[in-house]
Symmetry: D2
Subunit: 318 residues, 4 copies
């Protein structure tokens, strides 16, 4: 963080993610009834959804498509000036794919692709959410009523990009967008296999995992957070009662120390419900480097992640 | 427990409660959408409801009436023989009001009234709940899917009878029904002001509180349990978001050490959502006696219960 | 429960367990500092320990021995008469090994061995725990201060006996001691592989698991409960920080639906920390029978138990 | 946030607080044994303590003094340049009281006083904590072992300054230090009565409350966070068992929606244990303004805070 150059601090947070699904109705039921999100709008083949605590208008755009996967990931800039600075820098780096007028709920938007081709965008101007009367909360510092259905996810937490080259992705995110590398797993040769990066005080807002199949630009997972470890366990109960495939039962990650449960939503995309973890407040946080040897312990409580975690992504390439 | 006489062990548990409400539609919304219960049947002005973990067919019969209050409280006997023994004993004591063929979901039933006139009944034969297909749980040792809406109450926990004479009520319940007195609050003169009694290993299944207005036979509250202290806090969040009056915010009782939140359902009846507390396993548990002096500390964490807790009951007599 | 014969209801609860350990000092540190128990007495090579919520004087007798394993498991009878009835019945069945004057904290005791040879005992007269001044709790309905160290286990929950013949063990416990079979796992041939049995309203107080090695009379595990699912996760954090081997990371059982974490204490005995689960209140609970096919789903959230769960017991026979 | 001027983003977080206590031994027992903190160093009449998750070397300097109160509050700058910018700006505003070489664990430090005279300081260079071997955690992204004693507080969360003039204090913190006003309570005349301000994504790092006694420069409270709502309840259990005065039992704040329990440590200072609350990620968060009318609802669950919350501070002026 401290160095010759002032750090880039232009990205405020992960704003929303567009997910593609070949089973739009069933995916909608998953996000709305099982995660407990609310529909805010529809447009063509897309439904816009929000979690009760999302500070943005929506955090998920669910779009019908032949294959599951990532439509795009959107970042919010700190200011109009910050947006312009990032657009210029991304253009200079050859990552930009141009400006648009924006989409539902946000203004002019700069589009770009990371090294592996993941479609991303950044904008600043955004419409605020105003809860309809039946969702007005008791406390006005909360965007809407606490969801009292399904897993009651609070808010979008992070996204994980499956990449053929984590080193490139990680460098790109740090250099062009100001992400800081909180933790990283490396091979004995020093090649990154998972990179956890943050722009907020959360220990990560975006992660990049090595796609062991060698495929490029796939989507690994999207995570919604809940308010306590116990709600992860409850989410898992809801998933089994409703026939959702659990890829990884509730446990605790080493990196970030978040509690999790991983499932595949009916469209095939991997979804995480997460909780806990720590905030990074120190301005001179030193990246935690996990060696292959250290990773052999498994998850925090020493149980393993399933092998599919390193090979399954969307679109599925089998 | 150990004495000359073998203890009476004929009552298995509190089976269900009939609540009267002048606002049947709003009360139904409260129990179904805010507590998260399911409707199992209707009959005339009554709706039968169950919590997802109730082992009986239903735990609540909600009946339209001019005034709120207790319709009746039903106990389940351990066996047909136990039922007959209790009926004979209640009849001998002059408490019996006769047999009936039963009601929805249960067979022949003996009706009686306690010293203050609270209507009660006891039966053994009961119809088992069979979840409809959309509520079939993943695990068959659970009656139905975990409720994923509202406060997700698990099961009926206990009932509290408001009484003009706690000593009489407490003696009646012990002598005629085999309840054991786990804890009791007494005045300096030794008069009981609250009695907590149990037939299961829970520290209480039924409580009796002194009605300081002197009225007879009123209803104090009904309690549904949730699976963790945290779910009490969440229930309170749901109540404020939906305009439910909270009489006593989440805190911890001294007796039983249960966590609670008390509200008035729209029909006016006081409802508790509770969690935690201890089991009584010792066969020679000695009744815990709380003096007036000791009760001055307030609740477990030293905050007070509101004054209405000792005067408000249903029907309301103001 | 309902049948021609009145059920036996003479056993109140599991009173304590004697564990043998070849590493007495390290085992003591485990129970005292990591589980958060307190030492109440010492006698020769034994240390007596209690959890803060145990209603009995102690729940664990930890005894130095060449091999780890079960010293004995002790049950408490409901009354002196109940004790005599059980002693007579056990003697008739050929299981009795005689009376003794008792041990630290309890009076005359009848000793017996189950079909596989596990040493057990039953008594009624027991000394009550009186907390020393530094452990006096704020609320006198609690035996001592809430443990504020280690995993803060509340109380002894259950024991699991490893057996070469679960059918025999299960029949013995039901017929001679009045345990009821809440759930059972069976092979396609109808042979029991795990039996869960209860005498309290807890869904099990004692379990018997098939020892796939064919060894007789070994010990499977002892379980202490904590007050919430979250405290299981916290226990696992404490275990990894202190070098305790986690055999099965926190997850949820199908039978009883308890949350758990399994570890090996330094002496080699398997210890569970558990939470949650349901109470059985229905007098006509029908035993839940799990087929081999149904058991293939794994644990509640579909993750597996490690294979050692079916082969490792103490003493270790490798 | 969005305006003509680029916002000041020079303060990284609240680094530590020096508390004065007339009962140093009892205060030390409170923080070490009841909150679960660890001593890292001593110097003269001061003891330096840290919570297990504090990223800084220590978060509390406990210093013997005739009267309780605030020794000083320390902020950490983002960089050496940021420190110099703030020092210059504070000097320009007439708030500076000069540079020092620093104190235990941190380098050169700029000292200043807010409008009401509260002693504060800011520094950048800081020594990192290295856990001694008996406190080495299993996971190296955690500073030390999870505390398994007392309330197990995770980290310093925020400080609340009692002020005779909240408007001045709030303006000072925003203009000179770059705090942003997340929420504010105002009188009908528009005078601020409580201001909640943040520099991190937490909804507040520092609050200012109106001292209704009119006294200047007193200390309101210091807050340590725990990892879940449930741990607040557990902290309260520990406090009652150990004779600590609970001023406000566990409940939920409206502002920030944090769960809390407030106690007076033996030296007289008000201490909060808090959990939960939301993060502010939106770069254009609009300050939530609470009117007197809105504040009449009480806390989130409608129960009141005790009157002493608005008059008791340290040093006590009675």
């Amino acid at each position: 963080m401290s160095g010759q150059r002032e750090p880039i601090r232009d990205v405020a947070h992960l704003a929303h993610v567009e997910l593609l699904t070949p089973k739009p109705e069933e995916s909608l039921v998953f996000f709305r009834d099982l995660l407990g999100m609310d529909e805010v709008s529809r447009d063509g083949q897309s439904v816009f959804l929000r979690a009760w605590g999302d500070q943005q208008l929506y955090s998920l755009k669910l779009t019908e498509s032949a294959q599951p996967g990532l439509g795009h990931a959107a970042l919010r800039a700190y200011s109009a000036e910050a947006l312009d600075r990032r657009a210029a820098d991304l253009t200079n780096g050859g990552f930009g794919t141009g400006w648009s007028e924006g989409d539902y709920g946000h203004g002019r938007t700069f589009h770009f692709r990371g090294p592996d081709g993941h479609p991303m965008e950044i904008f600043y101007e955004a419409e605020r959410y105003a809860a309809p009367s039946h969702l007005k909360p008791a406390l006005k510092n909360q965007p809407q009523k606490t969801a009292a259905h399904g897993a009651s996810v609070t808010a979008l937490d992070h996204i994980n990009l499956f990449s053929s080259n984590v080193d490139s992705e990680s460098a790109f995110l740090q250099e062009r967008l100001g992400f800081r590398l909180s933790e990283v797993a490396v091979t004995d040769e020093g090649k990154q296999t998972t990179a956890w990066l943050h722009v907020t005080n959360k220990s990560y807002d975006l992660a990049v995992s090595l796609d062991k199949t060698g495929a490029k630009g796939r989507f690994h997972h999207l995570a919604y957070k809940v308010d306590s470890p116990e709600m992860i366990l409850r989410a898992a109960d809801i998933f089994i009662d409703n026939g959702i495939f659990i890829e990884a039962a509730p446990a605790k990650h080493v990196a970030g120390q978040t509690l999790f449960v991983y499932v595949y939503e009916p469209g095939g995309n991997r979804i995480e419900v997460c909780a806990g973890g720590f905030l990074i407040l120190s301005p001179d946080w030193e990246t935690i480097v996990w060696t292959q040897e250290e990773r052999k312990r498994g998850l925090a409580w020493t149980n393993p992640l399933p092998a599919t975690f390193h090979t399954y992504g969307t679109p599925d390439i089998k």
